[in-house]
Amino acid sequence: MNKFEFAVADSIQTALEELNEHPAAAKVHAGGVDLVGELKHYTAQPDIVVDISEIPDLKWIADDAEGTTIGASVKLIDVIRHEAVSKKHAALQEAASVVGSPQIRNMGTIGGNLCQRPRCWYYRDEAYHCLKKGGDECFSVAGRNRNHCILGGGPCYIVHPSDCAPALIALNASVALQSVKGKRELPLEDFFILPESDATRENVLQPGEILTYIHIPAHAGKSAYIKFREKEGFDWALSACAAALEFSGKTCRSARVVLGGVAPIPWRVRSVESYLQGKEITEETARRAGEMAVEDAMPLAENANKVLLTKAIVKQALLKLNA
């Protein structure tokens, strides 16, 4: 890694001030799970790293009638173990539980999980000056793309690596972003941006701005997260599906269905959501929902089978909620 200054912030305010002084050349460190890899492989070469892991205001979980609020620096292991999360937001608990390995869940934070950079092997190799790094080519198009996206691609074909993001979007979560200029809140769904608007980033965070907390509104539904990975530990989603459904009796009253590992952002499938409304979740509706979820898929040369796989994963997620 290159030489950089390491500033440990003790409050949100000091963190924001440090970041404001070096807006373009600063990186934020919380759990370090993603950033340290980026530093070691020279994908990130900051002048200053601002550590926010010790800021008390970012390390709490609150739960009341309005919903559940989680500070950005809360470790994944603490998200998994929190009673409100396990009782009310199964999809989030299931998603956080399958992130990386136990070591990663012990160190990694929920904010970091949402803000992490993609795992694309071209992006992660310094030798490829790809679109994401300001270059003019996405090497995956002509190259090796078994892990790349089947939806929402172009001009860059990464998949968003977060497990928690699809779950949180299914749960209709919002995020708070803060900089010295102030604070803004937006639905998590609007936090992520497609490469067609800006291939060099995956979200709307501005230089000097940090994600401070996540809010999940109270709801009466059931939710689930299914992650397909080739290895049962320490592996990324080849395809994933988060679903949150509200029922009247056996009938689905409303649904939010979000795919992971298949698009540059967590991919909400509204066609599936409206299809499920007013239906019972049967083997047949779940199968049909799986087919609808990938209707717009445009696979690359080596990932056509991700389409088949995603169908099966959507079906599994929905049937899990019916069980």
Partner: protein, 742 residues
Amino acid sequence: MVKNISALIGHDDVTKLVQFDVPDGEPGFWDKQYKFVVAGEKPVRRLDGMEKVTGKAKYTYDIYRPNQLCAELVLCPHAHARIVGVDASKAEKMPGVRGVMLAENLDAAMFAGWIIAMVAADTIQQARDAARSVLVEYDAQDFVVLEDDAGKDDNPIRKPSSGNPSIKGDVEKGFQEAFAVHEAEYVTQTTPHNCLETHGCVAEFKNGELTVWFSTQSLWSMQQAVAGYGGMPLNKTRVITEYMGGGFGSKLFGEQFADMCVKMAKKIGRPIKFMANRYFDSVACGNKPAAKMHVKIGAQKDGAFTAIRADCLNYPGFSGGASVATPFRSHYECPNIYTQETNVYTNTGLSRPFRAPGRPQGSFGLEMAIEELCMKMGLDPYEVKIKNVDVSPLDPRKYQFEVGAERFGWKKKFKKHGSDAGPVKTGVGCAVTYWGYSGDPGGAVCRCTLFMDGSAEVAIGCQDLGTGFRTMAACTAAETLGIDVQRIQVLTGDTDIGLVGPLSGGSKTTPTVAPAIKSACYKAQQKLFGRIAGDWDAKPEDIVCRENAVFNKENPEQKMPWNEAAQKVGSNMIVALGEHIPPPDVEGIRIGTGLRGAQFAQVEVNVETGKISCKKVVAVQDCGRAMAKAQAESQICGGVIQGVSYALFEDRIMDSVLGRQLNPQMEHYKILNAMEAPDIEPILIDVFDPVNCASAKGIGEPPHVPTAAAVACAVCNAIGKPIRSLPITPYKVLEALYGERR
């Protein structure tokens, strides 16, 4: 002077009494009538286990010499390039930098990862910073990295080179005689070794001597190599490999980085340490090469093979050669066999031996072809396979197959291909293994020292690459001496021990070393017994020690505890040397089958997601007699685990755009974890074979040969469709099931 001994050879109930000569003063043979007390019976815990788990064991990686410098390499980022110029002037002036050395062979870089230069600095971070500041001008050339692109005439490296075919009988006639014939192409992938400890060394010149701590499988050839690098006489060159984190065949050779470390250490006058990072280890330190095998096999109506033909393309990297055809010629009996191999070159790092070189590849092609032939003929592959190994009673193959099938429950578990109800389908597969006897007569000299307190030391100029070699050595010594294994101290891993030992490759360590240990211990103890014999009016060779008790075989009343007998050693110690002396190669006294084994795998395949889970592997293996049962079983489990990983996960992925390896780290290079490891049942079958006085054969490689093939056959059995390339991924399962419909 010789003595004639009789020995019961064979396996299980199939035995034969043979007689042969043993040189005077050498031990007899551990035949079927000789029951092990220490070796091969009760599991003995790994003697250095505590050192390893507590971090006391010092690996090359852990060596830190006073005044040591850290080295980093400058590597070519291009798959194929002419090197126009190198400018290290900026790097040389950077903080902490003590030297920059350019590599030899700087005309052209043949793969991404080619060494351009080495930088030595006070800290590793300074060395890395400086390595990035070495400016290299490249003239990028056309390259080829994908196997599918490499066989063409415009290959920018060199044209494929074909070897002469190996021919037995007449395959065309054999195919004409066949009732059914199957023909298809089978493809395997390239997999780097990925040893837990990466490649590396520490080189130091001190007091006119060169010492190199080297993570190597071959202490003695490395001594010659580093002496050459440093221009040093052999008797002033020392190589130390006290503990080692695996090699699998990738650490048998001299290394360019070691050459540069030694030369820089000499030039700068300070010790230099280089440990490869995962990137360099993956791209430049060897791999199990890919192969494409065009296989044709024919059988009679009852499944007896009439002809086997394999035309193989091997992909050794930018140069050299590879071979995968041996299994086609040696795993099953067949009157007509034809194999031919061609090397095809790519701009990638060179292949190196990898745990039974070429065998897992060939085994996959062969066993899958048989599986498909059986599927076509509606036969049970187990019945067909066992029919084709049923040779002679002393040959253990049929027996091993039966033992394994019984334990596995093959008859209950086998269903017609693809007939299991979904969505999660179960399937079973089986495959055989073969490895030739590789003990090396004269390849090891061991020393046994007896002390007057009843303890003993065994010294061997060898290296423990992580297999439990020390424990094997201690068990063999304890068995020979008839005393507790805790009394044995094992010295190894250092050329200064001054005793030649084999390289750890070809599964030759145990068959070479165990008989030498037995011989040394026997001779030392005979010297001691010579001092007791007079008192008892007995012959020394009639005195034995079993379970710490010394007694006269001819008069068991005459006995004393080992501790008391050992007092007669006195303060001068008793020292003896031993070697692997083979019994005469007389017709009929050896089993002559090498090492054989059979494996049975059970998988579950989800036909909606393509997910494959290997649930169970039963691995039957002979290694002659196991010198240390727990360590031998551990070798079987290791071979199986690596085999399942090879079957389902591991794959070097090369980029077609810039020609670089895209998964040189553990993130995208998938190796199975504990969660993916099957339940493994290792079954050791004793085969009493007088290849050496201990009946010891090596077991490192043979259990790795058939696993991937058995798993692939099981997947085929589960889904009723063959997957003809490794690794078998969920995508490939989905492709096999639904690809045509898409």
